[in-house]
Amino acid sequence: MARFLLQRFVIMLVMLAGLSIIVFITIELPPGDFADRQAYRMKSTGVRVTEADILQMRHQMGLDRPWYERYLSWIGNIVLRGNFGISLSQHIPVTEVIGERIGFTALLAFATLIFTYGVAIPIGIFSAMRQYSFGDYFFTFLGYIGMAVPSFLLALLLLYVSVFVFNSNVGGLFSPQYVEAPWSWDKFVDLLNHLWVPALVLGLAGTAFEIRTMRATMLDEKNKLYVTAARARGMPEGRLLLKYPVRVALNPIVSTIGWNLTAIIAGAPLVAFVLALPDTGPLFLNALLDQDVYLSGAMLLLYSTLTIVGTFMSDILLALLDPRVRYGERT
């Protein structure tokens, strides 16, 4: 187990390093740079900007150094000092801009995961145990809808219904009176009351998928010989199902946590935008539009890190669940 953990940890570090380079390249990819954009903006407000001015700006911002030098100083500052640089568009440290928001993003991702698995696992078990029952068909139908409806549409729909039918607004993460209030139990409850909406929107497709996976694996497992063998030992039916097929069916579920998390984080900015959530989503979109390389780079990096760390944790969970993974057997 220790070897397995170490191995996975090293892989994670290598991936993070590789990723940081890719992030850096990605944010450098679009033609032009921040200096061009700044010049364009100044011109459009009537200021005269010469070539020399642009070069000057570039030099000030360090944009004229070779890419690897910029990469090394960028990543070095992040790793050694937790300094993500200055936001080019807002002229304050990136950490300050992102601040609390990244916490909300992580919370949203976490809540969505809880929602996904909390709903999918019991329904998957139910559907498998009552195959072809009304309930099974009902959840199958819901599941297909869940997979087919784009999340932003669902978000708009929920907003519409909450405003026009229930006369309340589920947008944002807090009710107005709590937005500026210090943290308290009531504020936390209020947060949970709002959180389920984006969690539902973001998690629906994944939930539908996990229900299918859970159901299929359960159906597969419950007729396996080892289940029959345990039944032949005199195991009561309910305990039998929980101890054997459910347990084994959790493996494929757990091993998808990583890419479920990826899908959630990738989908979050759009949903956050629609629902006006104070997380990093809207910030990220603007940073990309502004070519604010330090801000968008920092956020890309944080998103990827969330994903990679999530995958690492799902690997560990899987190893805890399945001895064959733990002992490195490939079957």
Partner: protein, 358 residues
């Protein structure tokens, strides 16, 4: 029920209603096992051996169902008041009932053909042995663990204590089958059902497992229903043997009797198909002539008649042979031995049908 029998199966019928039609997997099986007896069941694959075994524990996979017959079992652990025996018809029990659960693993235990898949891959072997013990005996976890280790030793798993916490994939096929035997014996059942326990193993391992089972049978004295398609194996382990064909027992007698004086034409074919009987334990059956009919279309009359060398046109293809006791120990289901056998019914239609089938 006979006063001595431990188990008596009468006219058991099991079918699987499938989309393509109904498979009559067991079509009127009669069997009796005495306490401490080793009864072998032999037959080509697909003849209903496994389904018969599954019926005893009521673990027939869906959509299979028992259509009729009785499975009388002399239960000695069921009645709350001490050692009283009582007779249970397993065919009538609800498979999910408390009574059925208390019989499973406790009074009737089963070993399966595939040692590789009869243990859950994500639980330790030890925990799966302890499970049976904890289910049926009033023992603490610690005591159950010690009991499990004791049985692992008994079945010859080296380093039993350390191997308790190993997972199935760390066991070889032979070791898993030993562990399976440990599970089966752990509650001291009065009947052990072994469904081709050595078929999936290497020849040398087969011999070891057979040896072990013979030794443990003598030590524990439980009755064994030993299923195989290998007559050579039967000669080594069983007292009695029942020959099955297409869901029916066609002949039953003590092993020596069957080997020396086979009566049913199918048994004779089976014996011819085993080279140097008794010396080559691992030898598989050489297929006998003709192929087994599709289970969806049972032949009329005697199910064996399309392949039978002694087929009597007009009789075998119309008349269902009766179960005939030749003497106390030898019974057969074949028209050749029926005292009041019908005379050939040579209506043209029957003759034509017979010649196309033969």
């Amino acid at each position: 029920m006979n006063t001595n029998s431990l188990l008596e199966i009468q006219d058991l019928r099991v079918s699987f209603p499938l989309d393509e039609g109904t498979v009559q997997a067991v079509a009127g099986v009669n069997l009796a096992i005495q306490p401490g007896q080793v009864l072998g069941i032999v037959g080509e694959s697909g003849c209903g051996k496994t389904v018969t075994a599954q019926s005893l524990l009521r673990i027939i996979p869906p959509p299979g169902r028992i259509d009729g017959g009785t499975i009388l079992f002399r239960s000695s652990k069921q009645s709350g008041n001490g050692k009283d025996e009582n007779i249970v018809d397993l065919a009538k029990l609800n498979p999910k009932s408390e009574m059925m659960r208390r019989i499973r693993g406790n009074e009737i235990a089963m070993i399966f053909q595939e040692p590789m898949s009869s243990f859950s891959p994500v639980h330790t072997v030890g925990s799966q042995i302890m499970e049976a013990i904890l289910l049926h005996q009033d023992l603490s976890k610690q005591a159950a663990r010690e009991r499990a280790i004791e049985y692992m030793r008994l079945v010859g798993v080296p380093g039993a204590q350390d191997r308790m916490d190993d997972y199935p994939h760390q066991f070889s096929g032979g070791m898993r089958q030993r562990a399976m035997i440990a599970v089966a014996l752990s509650c001291n059942p009065s009947l052990l059902v072994a469904d081709e326990p050595t078929t999936a193993l290497d020849v040398t391992i087969q011999a070891q497992i057979l040896d072990l089972m013979r030794r443990l049978q003598q030590q524990f004295g439980m009755a064994v229903l030993f299923i195989t398609h290998n007559l050579g194996v039967i000669a080594q382990i069983a007292d009695h043997v029942a020959i099955m064909y297409l869901g029916q027992v066609v002949e039953q007698a003590p092993v020596r009797e069957i080997l020396r004086h086979p009566k049913h034409p199918y048994t004779m074919d089976l014996l011819r198909a085993v080279p140097r009987l008794g010396k080559t334990a691992g030898q598989r059956l050489v297929a006998i002539e003709g192929s087994i009919p599709s289970p969806l279309q049972r032949p009329m009359g005697c199910p064996f008649h399309p392949r039978c060398s002694k087929m009597i046109p007009g009789v075998c293809n119309t008349h269902v042979p009766q179960w005939v006791a030749l003497n106390e120990i030898h019974s057969v289901r074949c028209v050749l031995y029926e005292p009041n056998a019908p005379t050939p019914n040579l209506e043209p239609a029957n003759v034509r049908a017979a010649s196309t089938l033969a």
